[in-house]
């Protein structure tokens, strides 16, 4: 069966520091992958999606970037974090026309 992992689970970072969040999927090949941010415990905003290695589409211009160095690995990065980057970051993979979400990473920027 398919499994999706995210790490770290929680992260506290100072403003201006770099960021790297990782998402990996097991049990499937060449999935579509997605990064979302959930602010204030409610609305979800699609940040990036990828249909294959090295293929990244950005939904919202911002301080973040994404990469897909391997088939089942999706990385969210920033060179310099802003206070507004705080939130709950969710990775998802798509199978059978349905998106399945990982456990999330809670990021607090101070």
């Amino acid at each position: 069966s398919q499994t999706i992992h995210q790490w770290p689970a929680t992260l506290v970072q100072p403003v201006g520091s770099p960021l790297s969040l990782e998402c990996t999927v097991e049990g499937t090949s060449n999935p579509n992958l997605y990064w979302y941010r959930q602010a204030a415990g409610r609305g979800l905003q699609l940040l990036f999606y990828s249909v294959g290695i090295g293929q990244i589409s950005s939904e919202v211009p911002q301080n973040l970037s994404a990469s897909r160095p391997q088939d089942r690995q999706f990385i969210l990065s920033s060179k310099k974090l802003l206070l507004s980057d705080s939130g709950f970051y969710l990775c998802a993979w798509e199978g059978e026309e349905t998106q399945y979400f990982g456990p999330g990473t809670r990021l607090l920027v101070l």
Binding site: N32, R42, L44, S50, E59, A92, E97, F101, P103, G104
Partner: protein
């Protein structure tokens, strides 16, 4: 543009009573509709989806949803609520695919509170 509305910020129901969480949508073409549940500090869990076929869709944990094309609604229902159903529920609509990826537009979420 596609959109989803969840008109209730919170729904309160007593354990054992039926529950309904409302969702309406606006899309161009035939909608793909989804319900997800989120427990505190956790990711979203898929409950059920409507793509085509029967208007009544059955999903996980005893939940079901009814697709109503004329009312553009996709309400989530359960005949008998449990305290453990207390969580945040999201309705989502799938945007027409771009390339081979699809994008979900989510509602703002409805908090379900089930009390004894």
């Amino acid at each position: 543009a596609q959109s989803v509305a969840q008109p209730e910020d919170q729904v309160n129901v007593a354990e054992g009573n039926p529950l309904t969480v409302k969702c309406t949508y606006s899309v161009s073409g035939n909608p793909y509709l989804f319900w997800y549940v989120q427990y505190p500090n956790r990711g979203l869990q898929f409950l059920l989806k409507y793509i085509t076929g029967d208007n009544l869709v059955k999903g996980s944990y005893g939940f079901e949803a009814e697709f109503n094309k004329s009312q553009t609604s996709f309400h989530l229902k359960k005949p008998s609520a449990l305290v453990s159903d207390s969580a945040l529920y999201f309705c989502a609509v799938r945007v027409l695919p771009t390339g081979t990826a699809s994008k979900l537009t989510f509602g703002t979420g409805t908090r379900l509170q089930v009390t004894l």
